[in-house]
């Protein structure tokens, strides 16, 4: 983030003023601290780079790190905005010791460029607090008692009240009778104190990632007929759809596996553009997929297990299912795209999206139609102008020969393309399109001309390179055909 050596800070808008949310170690060393206004910070460090605080992105990043920590334990909780709590009870034996586990985690985080502080404790609240505040102490108990009262996680008022009462550390609070604490500072304070010393349980709700939905059917006797196995797939689909309906979800990707007794597995995968709970629709897509197989499904000695997985599912409310008018037509089109994509291949039914590039062949790209279209801003043609871009583009551009140019720098007067001689009646240009300066190779500049021959055919041709003395004559190409 940021350029090497330049101190940077993350800013957010607080009550109309830009304040620093976080600073990097370099900036901290120069005397900048969170909470300062950006103006003050820039006065001290003029070349401070500022980036906007993006809490949502930070949260997503934290979730990804939590996913990575699943290698240590399945019990991972987020401690927003920048912490993770891992319950490693029973998991430490996988490493030589707690220290080794911590070292492994620290090394991995370091590779990602994330600096971490960690702490082990007997209960989650203590661990959380110890990792953040890092008090010194011979034992865990002692360290917990040295924690400042802010570590209890109470709201600002209660913490302030505790400080005013002269209770600066958790140790001070613990020696007081808890009933007095509860009476003066609230029941919440007492509960937190008990939790942090381990006298009470602190509930920890782990971030369990829902396993993908799957249903399967085993056969006592292997099934030798493919059509029966496919009928079973229909039953499995119905079961899966019922479970999807419970969770208000629809499937986007469906994978069917047929396990043979000899160990071979036949796998069929289909996908839909929109989440779906329609059994008939998905079965039709499976049938298309089966028809498109090079070899028919061979049961061998029989199937003994049929399994249906739904690895990708998305929210699908009952409200979305109620279709009226235009929505019906859209749903039909989506179903058609699914069917054609399944039959022809995912990449054979495509839609277009613009790209900000100079070279015409790179100015747009295609993506599979099953993927949702990103919001796109296509260039708007100028009113009154004839079309400046062709409707067909040749990839690669087609060479033309026997060019007779009127003027060396101008468009050709006659040329031969695809064994036809074209006599140019009208031409416009040149439109100079150069290769981007950051490409390592020196690609020649192209001078594009819109030409129309005597017959009325309009072509987009270009001269590949400039006409210079001493260099060989540049070549001409047809890049596209206009309407």
């Amino acid at each position: 983030m940021g350029r090497e050596g330049v101190p940077y800070a993350v800013i957010e808008k607080v009550k109309g003023a830009h304040r620093l949310y976080a600073v990097d170690p370099a900036a901290a060393g120069l005397g900048i601290a969170p909470g300062m206004t950006l103006a003050d910070a820039r006065a001290r460090v003029p070349d401070l780079a500022a980036f906007d605080h993006a809490p949502h992105d930070d949260h997503v990043w934290l979730e990804r790190l939590a996913d990575g920590c699943a290698r240590y334990t399945p019990w991972v909780t987020l401690d927003a905005p920048d912490g993770l709590v891992l319950d490693v009870t029973g998991c430490v034996h996988l490493f030589a010791s707690e220290t080794a586990l911590a070292a492994d985690a620290a090394a991995r985080f370091d590779r990602l460029g994330v600096a971490v502080g960690h702490a082990f404790a007997g209960n989650p609240d203590a661990a959380r607090a110890l990792a953040r505040y890092r008090p010194s102490g011979a034992s865990e108990d002692e360290a917990v008692r040295r924690l400042p009262v802010a570590a209890l996680g109470l709201d600002g008022e209660a913490t302030l009240a505790l400080k005013r009462a002269g209770l600066k550390t958790v140790g001070d609070v613990v020696v007081r009778p808890l009933s007095a604490i509860a009476a003066r500072f609230g029941g919440d304070a007492a509960t937190r104190v008990r939790r942090i010393v381990g006298a009470a349980d602190s509930p920890l709700s782990p971030r369990m990632v829902k396993p993908p939905l799957h249903v399967e059917r085993r056969f006592a006797e292997p099934v030798a007929r493919t059509d029966y196995a496919l009928a079973v797939l229909g039953d499995l689909m119905a079961e899966a759809v019922a479970r999807l309906a419970e969770d208000q979800e629809g499937g986007r990707r469906f994978v069917a596996r047929f396990f043979r007794t000899d160990g071979l597995v036949q796998r069929l995968a289909v996908e839909t553009g929109r989440p779906s709970r329609d059994v008939a629709l998905v079965l039709r897509l499976f049938r298309e997929r089966i028809d498109a197989l090079a070899d028919p499904i061979d049961p061998g000695f029989g199937f003994d297990l049929v399994r249906l997985d739904i690895p990708v599912a998305e929210r699908l409310d009952a409200a979305q299912l109620r279709l009226e008018g235009g929505a019906v037509a859209e749903a039909e089109l989506a179903a058609l795209i699914d069917r054609l994509s399944t039959r022809l291949g995912r990449g054979r039914v495509r839609r277009f999206a613009p790209r900000d590039r100079h070279l015409p062949e790179q100015a747009e790209f295609t993506l599979p139609a099953v993927e949702a279209a990103p919001p796109a801003a296509w260039p708007v043609p100028e009113a009154g102008e004839p079309p400046l871009r062709p409707i067909h583009l040749f990839d690669p551009p087609q060479p033309i020969d026997s060019v007779v140019a009127g003027v060396p720098d101008g468009p050709p007067a006659k040329f031969r393309w695809r064994r036809t001689l074209h006599e140019v009646a009208r031409a416009e240009g040149p439109e100079r399109i150069a290769a981007p300066w950051w490409t390592p190779r020196e690609a020649p500049t192209r001078d594009y001309y819109r030409v129309e021959d005597r017959r009325g055919r309009r072509l987009w041709i270009f001269r590949h390179g400039l006409f210079e003395d001493g260099r060989p004559m540049p070549n001409w190409y047809v890049h596209g055909v206009f309407a």
């Binding site: 037509a329 495509r350 279209a373 409707i391 067909h392």
Partner: protein, 255 residues
């Protein structure tokens, strides 16, 4: 004479009832915007039917595609356009350039292109697509004279189009005329454009201009040629400014 005309129309109505097809007069019309053409077509092309567009010569593939795209834009009513092509057509004509389609007035983001391996797969996909009411207009492009594209195949496409109301345009590049159940058949060739009067440097190519010939028409006379130009701002065809109306040979005996 009048009696035979009266009994002829009575017979036609009886046949229409037996066939169970909607009467042609009731069908919605797709106007081209050019008064001469629309007048001749009795209001315009029929929506929800199959129309064929052929290229006059191999070099006119761009004009055919452009003309069909413009008709599809007028037929689409804001719905996405589906363009099915064979690999052979893609190889010979070049790939579709959506920016160029946008320059003609289409919504480039609403164009879907399907690439199929051969003509049989093209027909199968076209039949499926013609039954889908969500498609604004369907363009089916093939190269050459495929054997499977015969009267039966075009009739099946026509029935599918009628059932769903989708206008289907069959683009045939480098093909000879063959029997077809299409409502109208056009031959399109590129025509020299009219130079623009305003500001643009003299000698620049103007708006796209075509010479379109109505080869065949299911219910009515045909055989007439027009020269039209495309107006992107109004998204209509128009008579090129300053050009004489070229009315070609009219059929001698009226139907």
């Amino acid at each position: 004479m009048t009696e035979s005309v009266a009994s002829l129309s009575k017979l036609r109505r009886r046949l229409a009832r037996i066939e169970g097809v909607r009467s042609r007069d009731v069908c919605a019309r797709l106007t081209t915007g050019c008064a001469a053409v629309d007048g001749w077509l009795g209001g315009g092309l029929s929506r929800g039917r199959l129309h064929e567009v052929m290229a006059a010569e191999r070099g006119d593939a761009g004009s055919v595609a452009g003309f069909a795209a413009m008709l599809a834009l007028r037929a689409g009513a804001g719905r996405p356009l589906l363009w099915l092509r064979t690999e052979a057509a893609e190889r010979r004509c070049g790939r579709l350039y959506a920016t160029g389609l946008g320059e003609l007035g289409l919504d480039a983001g609403a164009v879907l292109v399907g690439l199929v391996a051969d003509d049989a797969a093209l027909l199968k996909a076209a039949n499926d697509a013609a039954r889908c009411a969500g498609v604004g207009a369907l363009l089916v492009e093939c190269w050459g004279d495929p054997a499977c594209l015969d009267l039966t195949a075009t009739r099946r496409l026509m029935l599918a189009a009628e059932a769903s109301g989708v206008t289907v345009l069959l683009l045939r590049m480098a093909a000879a005329e063959s029997p077809s159940a299409a409502d109208t058949r056009w031959r399109v060739a590129a025509a020299p454009s009219v130079p623009l009067a305003d500001g643009t440097p003299a000698g620049a190519p103007g708006h796209p201009a075509f010479e379109i010939e109505l080869l065949r028409r299911r219910a009515g006379p045909a055989g007439i040629t027009w020269r039209v130009e495309w107006n992107r701002e109004r998204r209509t065809f128009q008579q090129p400014a300053g050009a004489a109306v070229s009315g070609a040979v009219l059929p001698v005996a009226a139907g």
